[in-house]
């Protein structure tokens, strides 16, 4: 899921306080930009907070929200992978896939990562008027949960609505985000 990268990479500004991931061989560097009006780093709570007019952009799209909080892993933990990131207040994610604009909105988006007994769990939970939309249709859930390991959306009160195909006879049952597998 493209916006995963946005949220994660915004979070990977675990910045100067956590290690950067080792570069992937043979792949070029890309830039993620993160703007906000204000910022603070709380070394005791190990959290980074960007707030007011937060905009994160990368090669995949754009995330905007009112506040982005990144909880850094405990000092000395392997990988330096942030365990939790929270985007709050008018969360909007826009990204392109196959030339198509995808638009996700919610009040809050929570990225959670854990590695327990060699099992990785990685989800993004959208709550508060969560809605995904593109040219093919839209979906809602309360919450709407993206499981990045299983590669699919789940949710409570999960609804998917497909827009009518422009031409008849060749329609598919694919979800609007090709998310339903």
């Amino acid at each position: 899921m493209k916006f995963y990268c946005l949220l994660f990479l915004a979070g990977s500004c675990g910045l100067l306080w956590s290690q950067t991931n080792p570069p992937v061989q043979g792949l070029p560097d890309q830039e993620v930009g993160l703007h906000s009006d204000h910022f603070y780093y709380d070394g005791r709570a190990r959290e980074l907070v960007y707030y007011n007019n937060v905009v994160a952009t990368n090669w995949e799209g754009k995330l905007t929200c009112g506040r982005l909080t990144i909880l850094l892993p405990p000092e000395g933990s392997a990988g330096g992978h942030p365990s939790t990131m929270v985007a709050e207040t008018n969360v909007v994610i826009d990204f392109l896939k196959n030339g198509e604009t995808n638009h996700i909105t919610s009040d809050k988006a929570i990225y959670a990562y854990s590695l327990v007994n060699a099992v990785t769990n990685e989800t993004i939970t959208f709550t508060g008027h969560a809605k995904g939309e593109n040219a093919k249709g839209w979906m809602t859930g309360e919450p709407l949960v993206w499981d990045n390991i299983a590669d699919r959306f789940t949710g409570t009160d999960f609804k998917t609505i497909l827009k009518p195909a422009p031409s008849s006879g060749n329609g598919t049952n694919a979800g609007p985000f090709n998310l339903l597998k």
């Binding site: 991931n21 830039e31 070394g43 597998k181």
Partner: protein
């Protein structure tokens, strides 16, 4: 951006009283003072404790430091470099000017602040900052901009 209390205390001591080695912290160059009492081109080095006592932990430098009443130090061309225990550079913090409040262990400036990882992959900057050393709290007040360079990962969008 972690500055140890001892480091700043030493810096204050270096600037106010002269440059002397103190424990695991040392000024790495002679300190020169002009007639007005301004210290120029100073640098202070902090070393790791055991088991890496010979490895530099941080190097704080400035083009000029001026003692002010109330234990304040006005530092121009402030630069703090931090290092890993293997000696490799970690991060660099720079500000054209900042005021270090020795009694309260804080540093602040209305001016620009730039932090960057030594590998150039991460850079954060903004205008106006406050660093509270005692609780490791950094605030950047305005116009915060972070750039992260990262390798492209295979998109996982289904």
């Amino acid at each position: 951006m972690k500055m140890k209390c001892a480091q700043m205390t030493l810096l204050a001591g270096v600037l106010l009283a002269g440059c002397k080695k103190s424990g695991d912290i040392a000024a790495d160059a002679p300190v020169s003072k002009d007639a007005a009492g301004h210290t120029r081109d100073f640098a202070c080095v902090e070393y790791y404790t055991q088991p890496n006592p010979t490895q530099m932990k941080s190097r704080l430098s400035g083009a000029e430091a001026q003692p002010e009443p109330g234990g304040l130090l006005v530092i121009k061309q402030f630069k703090l470099e931090t290092f890993n225990t293997n000696g490799s550079p970690q991060a660099i913090v720079e500000a054209p000017e900042c005021v270090y409040d020795t009694p309260n262990n804080t540093a602040n400036s209305a001016g620009h602040l730039q932090l960057r990882s030594s590998d150039g992959k991460i850079r954060t900057e903004g205008d106006g900052f406050l660093w509270r050393q005692d609780d490791s709290f950094l605030t950047i007040s305005n116009n915060v901009y972070t750039v992260i360079k990262t390798s492209v990962r295979k998109p996982t969008m289904p």
